[in-house]
Structures are given as C-alpha cells and as structure tokens.
C-alpha cells in the first residue's frame, strides 16, 4: 500500500449533515429566569474535557432589545480583565460562585444588567474581544461571542451539567412560557 494513494479528497464528509465547531465539541446546558429575573436565561457550553464556556441563552431578553450596548468586565471591586491563571492547575484565577457576576451589559439607555456565572469554579479567561467588538455577543453567542471560560473540579462540573437543562428540556420550557403568555 502506498501512501500516495491517499488524498485529503477521499475524506469529504456528508455535507448535508455537517456540525459546527461548537456542535462538534460542546454540549449546551441552560438556566432560565436566573435570580428570578424573567428571561435572564443563561447558557453554559461544556467541552468534553469539562472546560465550560459561559454565554447568554437565545431566549435572553438581551436579544430582543434593540439598543446599543457596551460590555464592562469591571464589576466594582474586581476587574475581570485582570484575571490571570498560572500553570496546569490554573492557580490564581478569580474564584467564582454561581452568583458571581462576570460582566455588566450597559445599554445606551442607561439600563444595565449583570451576567451571573452560574457555577462554582475558577475563571480561566474572559473574552476580551467583547470590549472592542460587543456585537459578537449578539451575532454569535455560541461561538466568537462567548463571555468567559471557566473550569471546575470534575465533581462540580458533572453535577452542574446534570442539574442544568439540556437543549431539549430548554426548548420545552421556552415553548411553555411562550404559550402561557
């Protein structure tokens, strides 16, 4: 067998069933009405290696508001942009509890809402690009518009993952609340 016989073109997949990068490697989990605030709906995307990406769920009221906004990672006492982690164990990363605020979204009409991180863990990275380019959050919440990368222990990430809504459960919940209205 000659390796000349092999060509990248023999690996063309079924183009009708392609998955996006997010779909290939992450499973999405949801929380709705966080802190009792209606449509304060969050999404956490878990990589198979337990790294978690925080973003807003499509049903978040943010997406229905047509107003300019800025994303502020300075949440008062702490500036999330100053977060730094060292080594394999991500030492020195800011500690997060489910109610910790990751950033504030400040609209031009002076209304503000806080983005909770929704899980216990260590902050690994915030998406600094959102400061320059806030539209990413609106246009690509499940890819380039992610808000932060978090890491929890295996036990905590497993537990969080099983507590939160799966995509199917989430769709059902959203449909229900729409129907009630």
């Amino acid at each position: 067998m000659k390796t000349m016989d092999f060509n990248i073109l023999d690996s063309i997949p079924d183009l009708d069933n392609l998955k996006t990068f997010t779909e290939r490697y992450f499973s999405k989990r949801y929380l709705i009405n966080v802190d009792g605030i209606k449509n304060n709906d969050m999404m956490i995307m878990f990589h198979s290696n337990r790294i978690a990406l925080l973003s807003l769920a499509p049903s978040h009221s943010f997406f229905s508001k047509d107003e300019n906004y800025k994303i502020n990672f300075n949440i008062g006492k702490i500036d999330r942009l100053n977060n730094s982690v060292k080594g394999k164990s991500k030492k020195g990363g800011q500690l997060l509890s489910p109610k910790s605020v990751i950033c504030k979204i400040e609209f031009s009409d002076e209304s503000v809402f806080e983005v909770p991180c929704c899980m216990k863990g260590t902050l690994v990275e915030v998406n600094e690009e959102l400061v320059q380019n806030p539209l990413l959050l609106k246009n690509m919440p499940d890819s380039d518009g992610f808000i932060a990368i978090m890491l929890a222990s295996i036990a905590i990430s497993e537990a969080t993952k099983s507590e939160l809504l799966t995509h199917e459960e989430y769709i059902k919940c959203i449909d229900c609340s729409v129907n009630k209205q």
């Binding site: 067998m1 390796t3 092999f6 060509n7 990248i8 073109l9 690996s11 063309i12 997949p13 183009l15 009708d16 069933n17 392609l18 996006t20 990068f21 490697y25 990589h47 290696n49 337990r50 790294i51 990406l53 982690v85 060292k86 080594g87 394999k88 991500k90 690994v124 990275e125 998406n127 690009e129 990413l136 246009n139 690509m140 890819s143 380039d144 992610f146 990368i149 890491l151």
Partner: protein
C-alpha cells in the same frame, strides 16, 4: 613492606586466602585466579604447614556436603564433626570463599533459565553487606598499627577481587564470557546479605554518636539508618584505640554465619528500535485513550506497534506495560492521518532477551502493517544518543499538512449557514486572496505569524499561554464538483495548532484563516503529509 609478615598477620586475624592477597594490595586478575599458588609464595614454611592443615579442613567439609555425605552424617552420632565447620573469613564474610559459591551459581542459573537471554557475554556486580566496610577498616587499622609503613589505601576492593575470582568461575558455570559492564549488555548482580549485620553495625553509634543522633533526628530524610555513605563517614576518623574500646572489638570478631546470596538479578541493557509510522485511520489515537480508566478507542498506534514485538519476546500484557516504551517526534489527533514518509518514533525495550535480527525486524514491520491502519516500512536499531535527536526534533522540525476546508459565508453574513446546498461558493478571487495573504514583511521566510491561546481541547491539562507560531506557506485550491470546499497545503513551524488556525477557535487564534480568506471557514479533515525530520538515519 614485608609481604610474608602481612599474610601471616592476616591469616592469624582470620582472613581467607583471597583477602590476604587483597590486603597485600595485589591488583593483577591472574594472581587472584590462581590465588592458591600465590598465597603459597607468601607463606612462611612454618605458617604454611599450619595453614595448609587448616585449609584441608576447609575444603574437605563442603565436598562432603556436595557429595551428599551430609545425610550419612545426619543419621550417625558424630556431633564433633558438625563443629568443624570451615572458619568464615572475618573480612569478606565468606563471600570470597569458594566453598560458599555453589549456592550463588545456582541462583544465577535459575534466574538465567527463567529469563532465557541469548547473549554470549556478561558483566557481574556485587552488592556486598555494609559490614564488610567496617571489617575492612578494622583490619586496616590493626595492620597499620603492626606495620608502620602499611598504607591505608593498599587494600584491593572486595568487588574487584570478587570479579576476578567468583566472576571467572561463574563464567565457567554458565558458559558465558565475563566482560566489563561497559561492553557487555547483560549485567548479573548478586545481592549478599549478612544475617548479623544489624547488631554488628550498632557499634558505629558508639564510635560516632553525633552522626547517628543527627540522622535519627532527621528520620524523614534518612529513612535508613545505616547506608554505605553514612557508615563510611562514621568510620573515617576512627582510631585503633577507639575501636578497641568497644566491646568485642579489641580484636576482629569471628563470624558465626557467612553472608548469603539472597538474590541474583539479571538485566539486559535496553534495546532501542527506530522507524517512521504512517497512520491511515481517522479513528486511531496515537496512545491508548483512556478516560477514568475506560477505553475510548479500540486500539492505538502504540498498541499496534507493540503487538508483534510482544509476540517475539513472549511478553504478557503486564510485561508490555512495564517493558515497552513508545516515543515519537510529536503526535497527531485521533482524527488526523499521518501520510507521506510518516512520523519518526522509537520503541525502548527494557531488559530484552536479545536484540532482534534484521529478518525479525522485517517481519515485525509486516505484522504492524498488515492491519492496514498503521504502516511501518523499516525498523532499525538506534542508539540512546539518537533518541535525544528524536526528542529535540519535536521542537525544531517543521511539518506539512493538507487540510480540507469549507467556506461558511461572507464575513458579515448570517452565521450558521452550513450545508452543501447553500449558494456559498469558493471563487478564484478567494483562492488568490488566501495564496497572497501575508501579515509579515515581504522577504520574511514566514508568510503568517499567528498568536494562539492554548486550545480549549487541551486547556484542562495545560497552562493557559499565548504562543507565537510561524506559518511558512499556505496554498489553497478549489475542489472539483464541490463549490463550497477548498483544500489547503500548509507548511508550519512545530507546535502550530493547525485546526485552530483554520476555524479560529472563537477568535482565540489570531489571525486565522478567516483573516486570510475574508470569509468564515471551518475545517473538515486534516492530514499530516510530511514531518520534516530525517530520522532514523541508517548507519
């Protein structure tokens, strides 16, 4: 120096013949091989008679034992004969006395039978009881006292004398040639233990109390009380007067039980095989992929390479775990093929029975390749030094990839357009844009310099860093019949995450293919087509 007087002195103290020669400082192997002849030379007629008679006793007894006369003795009632045991040498604790060697020979033979080495030479090493250090030193002190010109460093080390006597006889017994450890790959180590050693070394605590009190205090650091260095340190400054002051040590104490061989270890120097593997499967990890002990993929490159080698050496799965080690110049992902000349790798075989022959290496290659997932065209023996080249190559080599990519839509178009039916098509202008893109100065050998954050897929086990990597060249081509697809031939510096460059990983690699192409893109398949490292090189 009066050699005869020294031999006489040593004999009186209770040394065996070979130890007498050691205290004379003789260092000629031939002298030790024929020690009986030489000891005769140095023995005064008077002493000679006395000694010879003693020696007769020494040699006659074990011969009886070997001939099975022991049983005969056992049932008769002659207790005095039992008392007439050979006198055990007070210096070597019997290690150099031929009468004690048969047990050692047997243990070596047993181990060799089990391990079935096919090696014509061997080197031997002795792990002697620490008490021999103490006894050597004591005798030296006595000698220096009796003979003013006796130098402390005269003594020939026990290990050397043992090699020249025991080692030579061992060679006859096992039918192999004794060689130095620097030459023979097979090392036989005999472990000798002296039952009375713990009590005997206690006197060091009296001779050098502060040292051992200190060691006792730092028990965590010094888990073993008596070690070779600590005993040597304790004895360094001892005088004869101090030694004589400790009970039983006014003369050299006799030995009740000789040092016994407790194990014979045989180890063959590791064997290293080098080659290049071609990986044709997109469902094959390089090494076993386990998550929480659970296997994620049926096999791996490593396992496919190991199997025929394990077969040749009759290795059990546990043996394989312990004795075969896989090394390579980098790695590729499970779903990435490695084509072209393949990727350099080496296998270390610990304690091999022998080196594989050229024919066997060819057969191993055939076995590996027969499954069709991994191909190895040639395997060869490589040296340890060459391994470091393999490892260094991991950082310095450059690699060529072939990537299959898809155009997802224009920069500002709706995201998630992702199926072959969308009217998105790669244009000739797109191709040209990619092929002309550069973010470095004209003339730089790299066209694109990228900053890559540690990819999320490995972020759980690696530090978060931003690495600068160089992409030397990118050539894009359209794919016939697939308007949305294009291929890339990419030449990069080692350590570039190519998949991440192609899809941009949520903006964590910048610039990415999107910046070169002017549209969002994703990668569908990746092949490594060349690992530019000339290894292994035929001799």
């Amino acid at each position: 120096m009066d050699n005869k007087a020294i031999v006489k002195f040593c004999k009186e103290v209770g040394c065996c013949d070979i130890c007498c020669l050691r205290y004379l400082g003789l260092k000629n192997p031939a002298t030790y091989e024929n020690y009986k002849e030489y000891i005769h030379k140095y023995t005064e007629s008077g002493v000679e008679v006395e000694n010879n008679s003693e020696e007769q006793q020494i040699t006659s007894n074990p011969v009886d034992n070997i001939n099975g006369n022991k049983d005969v003795n056992g049932c008769d009632d002659e207790p005095p004969k039992k008392k007439k045991k050979i006198s055990i040498c007070v210096s070597c604790l019997g290690i150099l006395q031929e009468e004690n060697w048969s047990e050692c020979f047997n243990m070596v033979k047993e181990t060799l039978e089990k391990k079935r080495y096919e090696c014509s030479t061997f080197a031997c090493a002795l792990s002697a009881p620490i008490a021999t250090l103490l006894r050597d030193k004591a005798i030296i002190l006595h000698l220096s006292d009796a003979f003013k010109d006796y130098k402390e460093d005269t003594l020939t080390p026990l290990k050397e004398a043992w090699k020249w006597t025991f080692g030579v006889k061992l060679a006859e017994q096992i039918g192999m040639t004794l060689d130095s450890g620097a030459i023979s790959p097979l090392l036989i180590t005999l472990n000798m233990e002296y039952p009375d050693e713990p009590q005997e070394l206690e006197i060091l605590k009296k001779l050098s109390p502060s040292l051992f009190q200190e060691r006792q205090k730092q028990r965590r650091r010094f888990t073993v009380e008596f070690t070779r260095p600590s005993v040597e340190q304790a004895m360094d400054k001892i005088s004869l007067e101090q030694l004589k002051g400790v009970d039983k040590w006014n003369k050299i104490p006799s030995v009740d039980i000789e040092a016994k061989c407790v194990s014979a270890m045989c180890v063959h120097a590791p064997s290293y095989l080098g080659g290049r593997y071609i990986k044709l499967s997109r469902e094959l990890p390089q090494t076993p992929w386990l998550i929480k002990g659970k296997r994620m993929m049926e096999s791996s490159v490593q396992e496919i390479l190991f199997e025929p080698i394990a077969k040749v050496f009759d290795l059990t799965p546990e043996d394989v775990d312990h004795r075969l080690k896989f090394m390579s110049a980098g790695r590729e992902d499970v779903d990435v093929r490695c084509l072209g000349d393949g990727r350099p790798f080496a296998i270390e075989i610990t304690d091999p029975r022998r080196d594989l022959t050229g024919d066997e290496l060819k057969r191993v290659c055939k076995e590996i390749s027969k499954g069709g997932q991994v191909i190895v065209q040639k395997l060869m023996h490589v040296s340890r030094n060459e391994l470091s080249e393999l490892k260094k190559g991991e950082e310095t080599k450059c690699k060529t990839y072939e990537a299959l990519c898809i155009k997802l839509g224009n920069e500002n178009a709706e995201p998630n357009i992702l199926n072959g039916k969308t009217p998105v098509a790669v244009t000739e202008e797109d191709i040209q844009r990619i092929n002309e893109y550069r973010n470095t100065e004209a003339g730089d050998e790299a066209r694109i310099v990228v900053k890559q954050r540690t990819p999320i897929r490995v972020l759980h086990r690696r530090p978060l860093l931003t690495r600068t990597r160089r992409i030397y060249d990118v050539v894009a081509r359209r794919v016939p019949d697939y308007p949305q697809l294009f291929t890339l031939t990419i030449r990069t510096e080692a350590g570039t995450y190519v998949k991440e460059w192609c899809h941009g990983e949520f903006g964590r690699t910048t610039p990415s293919l999107r910046d070169a192409a002017g549209f969002r893109a994703d990668i569908l398949a990746l092949d490594v087509t060349a690992v530019l490292l000339d290894w292994p090189r035929p001799q």
